[in-house]
């Protein structure tokens, strides 16, 4: 892939990366989101990376309070939100200071000049104004007094100056919309719908938006106008989707496909809460959402609902999974369907609630007492969260087991265009409840055995209310078949074996090898690193190297061909947003010399970083 620099007077580029940055109260997430939607409707391929502080309102003007939103738009298919931004919109000095290091050399900085005054400069730790002097000589700097121009634009509307000031993000959006030839209608319509009934707010936001656009047109920005043409993507209908929304919709779809009511037991936690919010709005799909008193009750209620014959789901992040561990162990013992979603974040403990990390893989696989295996899946892109929510539900229902689905803060909040599936093409999930006796006892009486297994080694799902099938289940070890409490040592060994075997036997699709399968090096990933790895592999293959990419969705059980695939390469590189968890699993399972590549900075890998690492691994030659 070629890097495109933004030379003056260049009117058409193949891609551009823009980062909006400002104070948490400046509305940067909203601005980024609107720019993204307009770009999506224009037909660009895109990927986004929102970042915001854990505090709702960190002290205004400080580095800690900076909120940013990066969007990568292009005329071809792209895989990540991009490496270094070409354009930084800095709404205050703190935004400039905290983001400047990431901006591409020669890139453009659009600064809200009004905020570069003594007090804000001091808060950001600047001894002098960086807009004056040579500090930013490596960049093209566009200073725009956005706050005062916004106030001016709103002056005749009857809006108080303080309120008018709050519309300055729409000024920035209008300016960027002009610079990148974005359509204006979607944003104007959105403003009218979003603030319906608040006429002054609508007027102020529209005035600021138009003023920003007009400023671009009339001021000295003529040489800054750029267009990124629509991308040629596979034909079909697209929508721009975030991981959390896709995951929630996947759960709705799983309910639709199985005919079961979805019962979500959840407790608010960043960055998973949006799944609870989304499903709470979808009651017409026969979805019950229950905001529990704590994480333990959230999973407990979901398990209780599953016992009653519903699709029990709980959604959380790492700290919540830690609390739920004992109940998940109970679900392993009860052999009931249950979906546990872990939207991973930086840890340990409270860690980095709003930043991404993927360090819960080993907890997902092993984080319960006793031998308590369960299937583990990981989504790779925001849209893939839809598919994996269905897949997790399917495995849970068909095999009567708790299933852990891993996503992360990056997937949860970032977005990408999603080629919408045809609902009729989604495969139904068959559900079979036990309805009659299944065994004859010593006296010739028909009886029901709750732990009599089918060919998948799954036990019957016999829900309360079914005549004749009354039975007791629990966390105590039970005799295989009859389900009676049993402390027999041979039976326990047998049951431990059965619980392992029945998970190991779950059929999962083979892994695919992408990139160049004939080289010596394979990059193996899981989860949200997919875009960065695929992008990096694409770039180094484009440079003439032979590098392959294998990406795991199923972490337990692992695909049957995985060992054979790995043994076809001399070098195995495993980039992970942790200190090396999958790499241990691969070394353990396949005795291969897999090597870790770690990133634990609370941010996803960029393709550029991985490109350098892969090139280094290949011997440093840059053909």
């Amino acid at each position: 892939m070629t890097e495109t620099s933004l030379e003056p007077l260049v009117t058409e580029v193949d891609r551009v990366i823009i980062r909006f940055a400002g104070d948490s109260g400046d509305g940067m997430q909203l601005t980024g989101d609107r720019f993204t939607t307009a770009s999506a409707l224009f037909g660009n391929d895109l990927a986004t990376l929102p970042e915001y502080p854990a505090e709702i309102r960190a002290p205004a003007g400080t580095l800690a309070g900076v909120s940013s939103f990066q969007v990568h738009i292009s005329d071809h298919d792209i895989l990540t939100p991009g490496d270094a931004p070409h354009v930084l919109v800095a709404m205050n000095p703190a935004a400039l200071k905290s983001q400047l290091d990431s901006v591409l050399d020669g890139g453009t900085i659009i600064a809200n000049a009004d905020t570069f005054e003594e007090r804000n400069l001091a808060k950001a730790g600047y001894a002098h104004n960086p807009l004056e002097g040579d500090d930013l000589a490596a960049y093209r700097v566009v200073q725009v007094p956005m706050t005062s121009l916004t106030k001016e634009a709103c002056k005749d509307l009857g809006v108080k100056p303080r309120d008018a000031e709050r519309s300055k993000n729409f000024f920035a959006l209008g300016l960027l919309s002009w610079m990148y030839s974005r359509p204006l209608e979607p944003t104007i319509e959105w403003i009218e719908a979003k603030f319906a009934g608040r006429d002054l707010v609508i007027a102020a936001n529209k005035a600021a938006f138009s003023a920003g656009h007009a400023y671009g047109e009339t001021a000295e920005l003529a040489d800054h106008r750029v267009i990124v043409q629509p991308a040629e993507l596979p034909s079909g209908t697209y929508t721009n989707i975030s991981g959390n929304t896709a995951l929630a919709w996947g759960l709705v779809a799983a309910g639709h496909l199985s005919g079961l009511r979805v019962f979500l037991g959840s407790y608010p936690i960043t960055p998973a809460s949006d799944i609870l919010h989304e499903l709470s709005k979808r009651k017409e799909f026969d979805i019950a959402t229950f905001q529990a008193e704590d994480e333990i009750a959230a999973v407990g209620s979901a398990l209780g609902a599953a016992y009653g014959g519903h699709l029990g789901v709980t959604t959380t992040s790492g700290p919540g999974v830690a609390l739920k561990a004992e109940t998940i162990g109970l679900a392993v013992s009860l052999e009931l369907p249950l979906v546990i979603v872990n939207v991973q974040r930086g840890g340990p403990s409270t860690g980095l609630p709003t930043k991404t990390e993927a360090a819960d893989l080993l907890m997902a696989l092993y984080g319960r007492h006793g031998e308590s295996p369960l299937p583990v899946l990981a989504a790779r892109t925001p849209a893939d969260c839809f598919d994996q929510a269905i897949e997790a539900s399917r495995i849970a229902i068909e095999h009567r087991t708790p299933v852990m689905l891993l996503t992360d803060g990056y997937l949860a909040n970032s977005s990408e265009p999603w080629l919408l599936p045809d609902v009729d093409d989604l495969e139904p999930i068959p559900v079979e409840f036990a309805s009659g006796f299944n065994q004859v006892d010593e006296d010739g009486n028909e009886v029901f055995w709750p732990y009599l297994r089918d060919e998948k080694l799954a036990r019957p799902w016999a829900i309360p209310g079914t005549p004749d099938l009354m039975h007791r289940i629990g966390g105590l070890e039970k005799e295989d078949g009859s389900g009676s409490v049993s402390y027999d040592s041979d039976n326990h060994a047998h049951m431990v074996g059965i619980r392992a075997e029945r998970i190991a036997r779950i059929p999962v699709p083979d892994v695919e090898v992408t990139g160049d399968p004939d080289g010596d090096l394979v990059v193996v990933g899981w989860g949200s690193t997919w875009g960065a790895i695929a992008g990096a592999v694409r770039r180094v293959c484009g440079m003439g190297h032979s590098v392959a990419h294998v990406h795991l969705t199923h972490l337990n059980p692992l695909p049957a061909n995985m060992g054979e695939v790995l043994r076809g390469f001399e070098k195995v590189l495993v980039p992970e947003m942790n200190l090396g968890q999958l790499v241990r699993l691969l070394r353990d399972e396949y005795l291969v010399d897999a090597r870790p590549v770690s990133k634990v900075s609370g941010q996803p890998f960029t393709a550029g970083e991985l490109q350098q690492i892969i090139l280094g691994e290949l011997g440093g030659e840059d053909r």
């Binding site: 209908t237 697209y238 799909f285 229950f290 209780g304 016992y307 409490v485």
Partner: protein
């Protein structure tokens, strides 16, 4: 799908059952002499009278001696994990309002490790019947002080006496906005059955505290008030609409005093001076005052229904929201949902 399976072949008329129908084939394994036996018998004898269906009945428990209860009932049952029974029962009762869900647990299970779930179940008013077997000790772990053990209690884990003030389970429940709270004891089958019946009939969460003797680790904890010879003078029966009066001769009673209640002699205040029990009072403060009459269960102690108010059950409200959404927006259309954000076509 659930509904179809369950209505098939189920007639409206409940077939008559006997105690034996409610007994499972499992051998009961409590210590000989345990108070749990009399509670189990009381309930197994009562179930046929309630007209309940075995297949529609579920017992959910946590961990502890009391938590073995589900194994002995020939119904659906789940012996879950320590403290979590109210949470699991909540999910089950919300998912399946057609079921009768009972929760059985001890003082440690319900008030210590599971205290949070108990109070939230009570405030939400989920339709579950909670039987709290209070023996003021940890039995299954062989004798440590519990959240209801008296201050100064000498146990294996408090060799020089516990430092903690105990919970009064009825006070806790009332403080947690419970809509139904009652107390009974394991020496009086008839009274237990009366309380269990009221619990069963109550819409919403009902909690019945059962004073239960652990004859191995805390024998005789309630003897001062429940032994037949002293019962009349030490137990204060609460009967809705009647003056609160007790004693072998009916010589004692309860009267209002200084914003609360106090024990009085009827001779001093006259019958008309006694407090008339009203379990339906919306304000729980009188019920709370009654729960505080005895500082510990070795003084005259009220038994019976402290509070029984109808304030709307949770599952009904939750399911009504689903019905309203469907009435307003129609049954969910997955295709329309996927196209609900701005879309574009390539």
């Amino acid at each position: 799908m659930t509904d179809t399976l369950l209505t098939d072949g189920a007639s409206d008329e409940v077939p008559p059952t006997t105690r034996a129908d409610w007994q499972s084939d499992q051998e009961v394994r409590w210590c000989p002499g345990c108070g749990d036996y009399s509670i189990l018998t009381a309930l197994q004898l009562l179930m046929p009278e309630l007209g309940a269906r075995r297949e529609k009945t579920v017992f959910v428990s946590g961990i502890g001696c009391a938590a073995r209860f589900p194994y002995y009932m020939n119904t659906y049952g789940m012996h879950s994990i320590h403290g979590r029974a109210p949470a699991i029962a909540t999910g089950l009762a919300l998912a399946r309002p057609d079921l009768d869900v009972w929760v059985v647990g001890g003082d440690g299970d319900m008030l210590s490790i599971g205290g949070n779930h108990l109070i939230h179940a009570l405030r939400r008013n989920i339709d579950i019947n909670i039987l709290l077997f209070n023996n003021q000790i940890y039995g299954l772990t062989k004798g440590q002080f519990s959240p209801t053990s008296e201050k100064g209690k000498i146990t294996k884990s408090s060799p020089v006496g516990s430092c903690a003030t105990p919970f009064n389970p009825v006070s806790v429940a009332l403080g947690a906005e419970a809509s139904f709270v009652a107390r009974t004891h394991d020496m009086d089958r008839h009274h237990m059955q009366e309380m269990f019946r009221r619990s069963y009939e109550h819409p919403g969460t009902s909690m019945v505290e059962v004073y239960q003797n652990c004859n191995v680790f805390n024998d005789g904890a309630f003897e001062t008030i429940t032994k037949k010879a002293v019962r009349d003078d030490m137990l204060i029966p609460l009967r809705h609409g009647e003056p609160i009066r007790f004693g072998s001769e009916g010589q004692f009673g309860v009267a209002r005093h200084d914003g609360g209640v106090e024990l009085v002699e009827v001779a001093d205040v006259g019958v008309e001076g006694l407090l008339v029990h009203d379990e339906t009072r919306p304000d729980p403060s009188t019920a709370f005052a009654l729960s505080r009459l005895a500082e510990s269960p070795d003084r005259p102690t009220p038994i019976g229904v402290f509070r029984a108010v109808d304030r709307g059950e949770y599952a009904g409200a939750m399911n009504a929201q689903v019905d309203e959404a469907r009435a307003a927006r129609g049954k969910g259309d997955l295709h329309a949902l996927l196209h609900s954000l701005p879309t574009w076509t390539v």
